[in-house]
Subunit: 336 residues, 2 copies
Amino acid sequence: MKVSELGEFGLIDLLARMVSSSPGSHVSRQQLIIGIGDDATAWHGDASTQLATVDSFIQDVHFSLDTASWEELGWKALAVNMSDIAAMGGMATYALVSLALPDHTEVEDVTAMYRGMVELAQQFGVVIAGGDTSSAPLVAITITVLGNTRNRDTHILTRSGAEPGEKVAVTSYLGTAAAGLEMLTEKLLLDSEAATCLRKAFLRPYPRITEGQLLVEQGVKTAIDISDGLISDLKHICQLSQVGARIEVDRLPIEPMVRANFGDKSLALALSGGEDYELLFTGSAQTIDKVKTAVSCLVTVIGEIIAGETGKVTLVDSKGNPFYLQKVGWEHFTTR
Amino acid sequence: MKVSELGEFGLIDLLARMVSSSPGSHVSRQQLIIGIGDDATAWHGDASTQLATVDSFIQDVHFSLDTASWEELGWKALAVNMSDIAAMGGMATYALVSLALPDHTEVEDVTAMYRGMVELAQQFGVVIAGGDTSSAPLVAITITVLGNTRNRDTHILTRSGAEPGEKVAVTSYLGTAAAGLEMLTEKLLLDSEAATCLRKAFLRPYPRITEGQLLVEQGVKTAIDISDGLISDLKHICQLSQVGARIEVDRLPIEPMVRANFGDKSLALALSGGEDYELLFTGSAQTIDKVKTAVSCLVTVIGEIIAGETGKVTLVDSKGNPFYLQKVGWEHFTTR
């Protein structure tokens, strides 16, 4: 069987099973809290829970040099990894950068990429502390970000704690990054304010490190960052928490600028576009009210966790009737 | 300027300067012991020094599927990273695996690769605790290995502590891996015992995790693992320690099997072949005698650290006369 037939998540499941059946040292295994399958790996440190995550960012798979500048590339490659630490409710501390570059790459392009990376790292006090470089036929940036919780008693945000009756909420807006990607690939001509905003959403996503820690402080237990798309990422929470979820599509927070430029399609972008790197989380209505007060960005309740078919995400309109994405002209909708 | 003109080490220097001029958080920066430029990153943890390293292993750059099986690939990709932890004198604890694979890759090849990885991980109690998978036009395996020292007072092995008068020593044999690579790429027909030994040296290197910790216990301060080749890696120590070194070529430990099959060329393989992943270290004659007693593998003194031209490695014969590699038919010798 080919990897493409098994699919990304099938492959991860298979490898996770191989790995979990191996013993490891008594100490490392005993200290491990979260292995493969959440946003980041977590284990008990001496003074706090330790976090680590890694993601590869590969040319013409995850990015294109036709649409992204090298500086944006550096920012985004680091941001998507810091976002995984944010989704665990942790602080990011160190980053290791493994860089594969074609020999003909211009040195000034590489330094521009590092400028983007360093700019983001500085905003969150992350130290780029190591890595390696290699020659390769294409650009691949693999970044490892390490982090930790504030102290040993601080809990982490996992994907497996959602309970029926909890509300589902999200930070800021959804679909803005996907709108940015569409604008860049389709070469849409938008007014300059919209073009700048959408480009930034797609190429300079802001990791919700501060918000993730505030969620923890307000008692949230369950979160994920939206990388694959709202529905797909909510399904991850539902599968690991063994619950379902109902989303009211009319409640989805969509940037007015996206709505103005993409009309009905905005909803599909918000539901399945991905790469917004906003935090999707669950909690009681009371907890979410506390979160709204604590964080400075918009927080919107978009649905609730329900008992029933594990892993199923149901879409409803404002009257509670089933909502079908085909209505908004999204025929080949994929939930991956 | 192109990356190829600047060279790998030039690029690393440039990026390290960009990164070190960025502030980072007060805490992370203050806790950092070793940033870019040693075998691994090191920082103060609460109960021990923490270590992290990452290396990419890219198809047709670092390995070829024509010569390596998938299982060997998994072993080696992990081994080269564990070797960096060994060169710091630490224990390896967790590994994160970022895997880029073409869609047409057979799932059984990927599981074979994981078998190789898990086999090595088990021998050292390392837990494969996370990672990600992506689609890519070629196979790229980027592994992050985390580790730590035994306790807070245990020192680490760095590249910067060598002092004039110290002896230079190495674990086990040199050039065996390079002989294995030559056998595989040139399709040399050797007897089956030699073929097995050389293949194993090149494709299943054994990280010197145990030996690294014993070096620390015996008082060694300075070490590196031999990945680029003896001369090249000794130059790294010399540059960072601001010393020179003199190597007596007749003392180099070369497997009898390599000498028998490669004759005079063995010496060039031992001096510059690389990928042996043995530990190259310095210490007083007394310290090295203690190391010889403590470790179970061969330890050979091959030269000494000298004052004088920083970074210069001089080769001499048994009479102390200058030795030129051209003598052994190695015209285009590169010290990278």
